[in-house]
Each structure stands twice: as C-alpha cells, then as structure tokens.
C-alpha cells in the first residue's frame, strides 16, 4: 500500500514514520528541504515542493497512491490539496488536518475526511476539568 504525506511538520513526520513502520510505502512532500531532518534516516521518497503543484504530487506518486494525508500548517492549503487528491487523482482515502472546527465540519459535510485537533483538544480539556465533578448547574 502506498501513502503520501504532505506537510512534514511534527504531525506529518510522525504519521509518515508510523505508516512506514506499519509497512506502508510512504512518500513525503514538504516545501522545506530541512523538514527531512524530522524523519531521521528516512529511506523513502521525499519530494521538495508545494502540495498544490501537480508535478510535485505526481513525482510523489499520487497516480497510484492508496492514501494521502495532508497536514501542512495552513488549513486552506490542506483543504484545497485534499480536494485535488480526491477529485483530480481519485485517491480513495484522503485525510486532511484542519485546525478550525467550523471549516473542518463544513468540508466534512462535503465528503472530505477532516481531522480537527482543536476539537479533540476541546473535548479532552473539558473532560479533564469535569472528571469526577458534578456539573455545577446540575445540583
């Protein structure tokens, strides 16, 4: 199985390493060549370039990718690159990181698989504060 990870920051790099150790053939794309340092002794493909550049996507092997993960630091970039992967290249599994909860919901309702770390953080913080404490208004 082939995967492309676009955006090699803290999240992208760890996802790439994880998928790779699960046995996926992973190609990583980032605008910054230095991002390769996050991957340690990476032996997979690494393409320097922007995720909206179709020649970059194609040299990363999007033509026959089974999955694409988009996790650059720009929500709108991720949303657009994700839709390009899905609609132009017909990639079956596209996962897009979107920090803004409302935009994440908007695009999720339109068939894009969005992961929103902000929503996860809100829920975890809420739970951490509330655990074992009756809701103040419930008495």
């Amino acid at each position: 199985m082939k995967a492309i990870v676009i955006g090699c920051g803290r999240v992208g790099a760890s996802v790439a390493l994880g998928l790779s150790s699960d046995g996926w053939e992973v190609a990583v794309v980032d605008v910054d060549e230095e991002a390769l340092l996050r991957l340690g002794g990476w032996r997979g493909r690494f393409v320097v370039g922007h995720g909206l550049d179709t020649s970059v996507l194609e040299s990363a092997g999007i033509g026959d990718a089974d999955a694409v993960v988009v996790a650059t630091n720009g929500d709108n970039t991720n949303i657009v690159v994700g839709q390009v992967a899905q609609k132009r290249y017909g990639v079956a599994r596209v996962v897009v990181r979107v920090l803004d909860p409302r935009r994440a919901d908007f695009y999720a309702a339109r068939g894009l698989q969005t992961i929103c770390p902000t929503k996860t953080a809100i829920a975890s913080i809420h739970d951490a504060v509330s655990v074992g404490v009756p809701a103040p208004g419930a008495g």
Partner: protein
C-alpha cells in the same frame, strides 16, 4: 446590491471604492492589522478585520443575507478558493468571483467549480500573445462555465485557406467561424464568406479543437 470583498490589497480596496461610489453596499474583509487601520480611515464601517476564510468572520460580514456578490481577491489562492466554496456552497451566494494569483492554480479553481476567475498574469500573457501570436491562434476569451473559447486567427499571405469559402474548409463540429475582420471592419461569417490574406478570423471552439482549427486554416 450587497457585496463582500475579501482582501484589502490594491485590487480589493480599489474595487471597494468603486462599488461604494456606484451606490452599492460593501463589506471589505482584511486580516492584516496595519493594512486594516489604513483602510478604516478611508472606508470606515465598511471594513471588517478578520480572516475571511473563517466562517464566523464571513457571517459577521453578512454573507448569510445572502450577499449578492462575493469577490475573493486576496493574494493567496487557497484562501480565495476556500472563501469561494464557502460562499457558494454554504450560503448560496449566486455570484462569486475569485482571483487567481498563480496561473498554475487555475486548474484547481476549474476542478472545484469556481468558474468565474480573474488572473492578472493570464490577462497580461493574453495581451502579449495578442501582440505576438506564436502558434497562429490568439485566445481572446474563455467561457469557462460553458466550456468554450473565442480565438482569433490572423491569416497570412500564404495561408492554405486563402481564397476559400468557409463552407469549403471542412471544419469539424467543435469549431464555428463567427466573424472575419477585414481592414478593421467586422463581418459575420457565413458559409459563403471567402477568407482572404490579412483577415483576422474569429472562431468559437469546444475544448481541444485548437489543432483542428489551426490545420483547417493554416495547414
């Protein structure tokens, strides 16, 4: 008319000024603080500070009324695309015009159904092409939504089509000659029109018929 303009750079601010002068109601959204303060001096309450791709900012600007027109003209193509999609698909805004900064991104706007786009680079290149036609065809206008283009073909002194009637050119179905401009005067083309050296021929093409037209006229 109520218009929401995103991005207060040269394009956004000039369009806002013109629309206001025409008597329209406008909200201009700008995220940069310094630029916002400058715009506020001129436009007062018609400028809103915020990131236009955040839905609550667009709502604050009144997109849900809905706006009659949204102009997504920031310097960032992804922002323009997302604002256009939210306006159209989320709020049913009928007229959305997006700016394409990098012409290589035009394909993405087309793919995602943002049919009304403007690109300064593409316009300038179009003018250059018009002055220095390279491959015989000058693209005058793209009817993106309809999938047609209007092109001009200058007829050289030795062009194989010279002296022929339009009916004799054996044009494929995807090509229609619409007019011939001869010595600056346009004439609507019919089957009987004869092509002469020095003419400018205007044709409407379906996608992919550039070569067919070139072969029919220029050999």
């Amino acid at each position: 008319m109520y218009a929401v303009v995103t991005g207060g750079g040269k394009i956004g601010s000039n369009v806002t000024r013109s629309l206001l002068a025409m008597g329209h109601e406008v909200t201009l959204i700008e995220k940069d603080e310094v630029r916002f303060s400058r715009l506020e001096v001129e436009f007062g309450p018609s400028v809103l500070r915020g990131d236009a791709s955040e839905i609550h900012v667009l709502e604050q600007a009144g997109i849900a009324r809905p706006a009659d027109l949204v102009l997504a003209v920031t310097g960032d193509d992804e922002d323009n695309l997302v604002v256009s999609q939210i306006a159209r698909e989320g709020y049913g805004v009928q007229r959305v015009i997006a700016r394409v900064n990098d012409p290589r991104n035009q394909v993405h706007f087309d793919l995602l159904g943002i049919a009304q786009t403007i690109s300064a680079t593409a316009s300038i290149l179009g003018l250059v092409e018009h002055e220095m036609p390279e491959h015989g065809l000058v693209r005058l206008f793209d009817f993106r939504r309809e999938g047609l283009e209007l092109v001009e073909v200058p007829i050289a002194a030795d062009a194989p089509c010279r002296g022929k009637r339009v009916a004799a050119l054996a044009l494929p179905d995807g090509v229609r000659l619409v007019a011939v401009i001869r010595q600056g005067r346009p004439e609507v083309a019919s089957d009987r029109t004869v092509i002469r050296p020095g003419d400018q021929v205007l044709a409407i093409l379906a996608p992919g018929y550039e070569d067919a037209l070139r072969r029919a006229l220029l050999g």
